[in-house]
Amino acid sequence: MDPIPTKQNNQTMQEKIPLLVLLGGGGFYQETCFLLRQLGDGFDLTLIYPKGSLKPENPPPGKLVTMREFSGRGKSGFKGKLIDALSLIPMIFDGINLIRATKPAGVICIASSISIPLLIAAKITKKDGYFIESITRVDDLSITSRIVRLLNLSTFFYVQWPELAKKYPGSIYSGSVISA
């Protein structure tokens, strides 16, 4: 089978690597934008934002798509958690459908709780899942990160501070989304 022509094979044809990227909200959205800037060119991006949220203003270059989010938001206690758990299944299906449609080389998520169903979808479809803990988590992991790690949902688990990598063996520290 002929190799896929890439720069590395010293062939002239340039193939952009397709990636599925979760944009998240608030600070996670910002961190994802910084990361995509660092990633640079050479990627064909499909960017996911939560259905029901405002379409991002000035998003990074790429195709924008939506995905359902946890329905229990704003509802406290056991009822809220139960609704969240039940909404996980349609979210996983959304993720699987997006992966089948875009055929990405991998799925990238920074910190958002929507990472969980998306990474489950990546695992089911045998795609690489890249999970990155938020830079704001200095001394300990978030609940989302703990779940991702406990259930081994990601292929690669990044943290953005070296002391977190020491505290959680198996996690990778290779810098942050903010650099000099």
Partner: protein, 152 residues
């Protein structure tokens, strides 16, 4: 123009301190405050609660005074001059941990005491914008993605 931002929650103690400094003439520039869900309405500054994007305010401000949340990342990434105050009005002290850690690898001006904001504004006048001394995560991520893609 000095822009003050407290994020999506409230940070009344910071807004009150800024308002006091403005009233006393300690801050001479025009001040615009983004006050979030705060109860205190400043009398000597323009203000608004939330906007879809505060980028235009950040870009045109000569100085940004920010809570210690995710906004600090954008300010560092864009090399904007800023002073950060950890919001201890909120439960937990997450922002103090975050700012203290950032300060180890950068030259940010910050405090967990709102009474320090006047002093930090003065210091900022002669300091260059802060930056974070860290490797870019995206470089290693790019390499990993490319290697795995080419292997397949």
């Amino acid at each position: 123009m000095i822009f003050v931002t407290v994020g999506t929650t409230h940070f009344d103690s910071l807004i009150i301190e800024i308002d006091k400094l403005a009233e006393a003439g300690m801050i001479k520039s025009k001040i615009i405050c983004q006050i979030g869900s705060g109860e205190y309405l400043p009398k000597h500054c323009e203000y608004f609660r939330m906007k879809r994007s505060i980028d235009s305010y950040i870009q045109t401000a000569s100085l940004v005074i920010s809570h210690g949340g995710a906004t600090v990342l954008a300010l560092l990434a864009n090399r904007t001059k800023f002073v950060a105050i950890a919001n201890t009005d909120l439960p937990g002290d997450h922002q103090t941990f975050f700012l203290a850690r950032i300060a180890q690898d950068s030259n940010i001006l910050w405090s967990r005491n709102v009474k320090d904001v006047g002093k930090l504004i003065t210091i900022s006048e002669t300091q260059p914008p802060a930056h974070l001394n860290a490797l870019p995560l995206g470089i290693d991520l790019r390499r990993t993605i490319q290697q795995r893609f080419n292997k397949n």
